[in-house]
């Protein structure tokens, strides 16, 4: 064993030429081995083919203006966009009376503005935005949509439809599911046996039943529990059914987050004198929500798409309205269905992708400084 002492520093050298430059980076990423090069080329060709076919159908061969179905029915015609333009308003408002649609527009506009105020972190006064969005806005929406007061014409919910119904269903059940889910999760973990048992039964029963069945039962069986003569609104029952269904799933998401909070957090909160509800609201829930944001958004995305199931109880949401328009004698053509479904896919995807991106943004934002 010879002792070693360094007397001169080893030189600091630049990396060798084959490690730098655009070509080296591309080779490392896309063509590291012969096998992966071949696989990469095949996959790229496949993707290119799919994208090209779609563009060819949706843009190049598409019919852009036509008075009726004649051109869309021609041999080799692509997407039938005139049909979508002609039915565009119906897709959004359903059969809401044309002269009253400004009411829906106001609700959409206020919703977009208040949601932006609530969700964009740099906009101040979150408390005020929350008060508006969660308390004032729903009441306002109800008044404007239903009418029958303040000089507004009454519009039956059977006339509602399209994107408007999809948004009412999904936003209401999302917003309602969070507090209900939190209460159910706390209930299930409660030390009071009755509370815990009832919460568990509710969660397990609702989770164990398909949503379609919940909708059928809500619409057909719920009136049995009402006194004769009372005929509750179908859309309202469906909204309540979906909200309760969503709450059961939310409860299990929240419970998962609760289990990740160390016992020390509860003891720390108790030791400084916080009551149960203050401990939950100020210490436990903020940490739980941060942990479960990915699961909550995942649930929201799935809930948003699940609203399309209401077509089975003849409520014409976005999917229902688009589908019902396929039979219009004026526009029924070989490409009408494809065009409608393509449009639906794009609209649903935009909403879901938006939610997904926002959740990633907020996750990154909350992550700073939370490192333990």
């Amino acid at each position: 064993m010879v002792a070693f002492v360094r007397t001169q520093d080893a030189p600091v050298a630049p990396p060798p030429a084959n490690m730098t430059g655009a070509w080296a980076a591309a080779k490392q990423k896309f063509f590291p081995t012969p096998l992966s090069s071949v696989a990469g080329v095949i996959i790229a060709a496949l993707v290119a083919w799919v994208v090209w076919t779609l563009i060819d159908w949706a843009v190049i061969r598409a019919v852009w203006s036509a008075p009726d179905r004649e051109l869309c029915n021609a041999e080799g015609a692509g997407a039938c966009w005139p049909y979508a333009f002609a039915r565009f308003h119906q897709f959004i408002y359903g059969f809401y009376p044309v002269e009253e649609r400004w009411r829906v527009n106001i609700v959409f506009l206020l919703g977009a503005l208040s949601l932006a105020a609530l969700l964009i972190p740099s906009i101040p006064r979150k408390g005020l935005s929350a008060l508006f969005f969660f308390v004032i806005y729903p009441v306002l929406t109800g008044i404007l949509f239903v009418g029958g007061m303040f000089g507004l014409t009454y519009v039956e919910t059977t006339q509602w439809g399209g994107l408007m119904v999809t948004l009412v269903l999904s936003v209401t059940s999302m917003v309602a599911s969070v507090p209900l889910g939190i209460l159910l999760a706390l209930g299930r973990r409660s030390t009071m046996p009755i509370v815990s048992l009832l919460s568990t039964i509710f969660i397990e029963v609702v989770r164990g039943v398909p949503l379609v069945l919940v909708l059928f039962m809500a619409v057909n069986m719920f009136p049995l529990f009402m006194p004769p003569g009372v005929n509750p609104d179908k859309l309202l029952i469906v909204i309540i059914g979906m909200a309760l269904f969503a709450a059961a799933y939310m409860a299990e998401i929240i419970r998962g987050g609760l289990q990740a909070i160390p016992k020390g957090q509860y003891e720390g909160a108790q030791a400084v004198g916080l009551s149960y509800w203050k401990m939950m609201g100020l210490i436990v829930m903020p940490q739980v929500i941060k942990i479960v944001i990915p699961s909550i958004v995942n649930h929201f995305i799935s809930l948003f798409k699940d609203t399309s199931l209401v077509t089975v109880v003849s409520i014409l949401d976005l999917l229902g309205v688009v589908q019902s328009s396929f039979n219009d004698a004026k526009w029924a053509s070989a490409q009408t269905g494809n065009t409608g479904y393509f449009l639906l896919a794009v609209v649903y995807w935009l909403f879901c992708f938006g939610m997904s991106r926002y959740s990633q943004f907020i996750e990154r934002k909350l992550a700073t400084g939370h490192k333990r």
């Binding site: 160390p262 020390g264 003891e267 720390g268 108790q270 030791a271 400084v272 916080l274 941060k290 400084g369």
Partner: protein, 248 residues
């Protein structure tokens, strides 16, 4: 009753069970105001359980516990009142990771004591200065070292202006080079006249500040003496054995 006026904490014939396991057996202890008690004993001897009974993180099944003149029963109002008067420092700090150091310190004063925010922040900065980390006020606990976190935890407890402080092995989770900075804060607190009950194995600290050292084993108080006599002249063979093992 001058006896109760002088008492900060009284435990009378306290018994506690975990299921069949008798974890606290006939505990009798009277802590006078301004007194500093160090509690030691082997792991599982019930020392943590005993001090956790004092602010009702654990429930006792028999006997009486009176804290600052308030009897601890199932009465929730009394429990809240006791917790307002008793500060506690934990082995694992239990700081709130989603709040800054300053927010950790102002949370309870604002929500429990209903102090205005500005006043709570002034109080918090006073105690953060006392534990020598005012410059960390706006950081999150996760950005601090263990020793710094424990000092924040002490400041957080002090912000409620407690009459009694409980320490549950405050230095056991710390790296050796950080123990001193926490003990220095505790010595400073003791010299300020705070009533303190400390579960700790820091015997140098016990010698320096304790009025009494209590040795517990198997859920019982085995020996109780002033520190010099306790370390020099332990009476019970169990105390002797324990001291031999921890003092080399």
């Amino acid at each position: 009753m001058s006896a109760t006026e002088q008492s900060a904490v009284t435990l009378k014939a306290v018994n506690k069970w975990y299921g069949q396991f008798h974890v606290l057996r006939d505990i009798n202890l009277n802590v006078k105001k301004g007194e500093r008690i160090v509690i030691c004993g082997p792991s599982g001897s019930g020392k943590s359980t005993m001090i956790r009974c004092i602010n009702r993180l654990e429930e006792h099944q028999q006997g009486d516990i009176v804290v600052d003149g308030i009897p601890l029963t199932g009465n929730l109002k009394n429990i809240d009142e006791v917790r307002r008067e008793v500060g506690m420092v934990f082995q694992h700090f239990n700081l709130f990771p989603h709040l800054t150091v300053l927010e950790n310190c102002t949370l309870a004063p604002i929500w429990v004591r209903k102090l205005p925010k500005a006043e709570a922040e002034a109080v918090a900065m006073k105690y953060l200065t006392r534990v020598k980390i005012p410059e960390q006020a706006l950081k999150y606990p996760g950005q601090l070292s263990g020793g710094q976190q424990q000092r924040v935890a002490i400041a957080r407890a002090l912000c409620m202006n407690p009459k009694i402080m409980l320490f549950d092995e405050p230095t056991s989770a710390l790296d050796p080079e950080m123990i001193k900075e926490v003990l220095d804060v505790m010595v400073d607190l003791a010299q300020g006249g705070m009533t303190m009950l400390c579960v700790t194995h820091e015997m140098a600290f016990a010698r320096q500040v304790a009025n009494r050292v209590i040795f517990m084993d198997q859920g019982q108080i085995v020996e109780e003496n002033e520190p010099n006599e306790f370390f020099k002249n332990p009476k019970s063979p169990r105390t002797k054995l324990f001291l031999e093992q921890i003092l080399h």
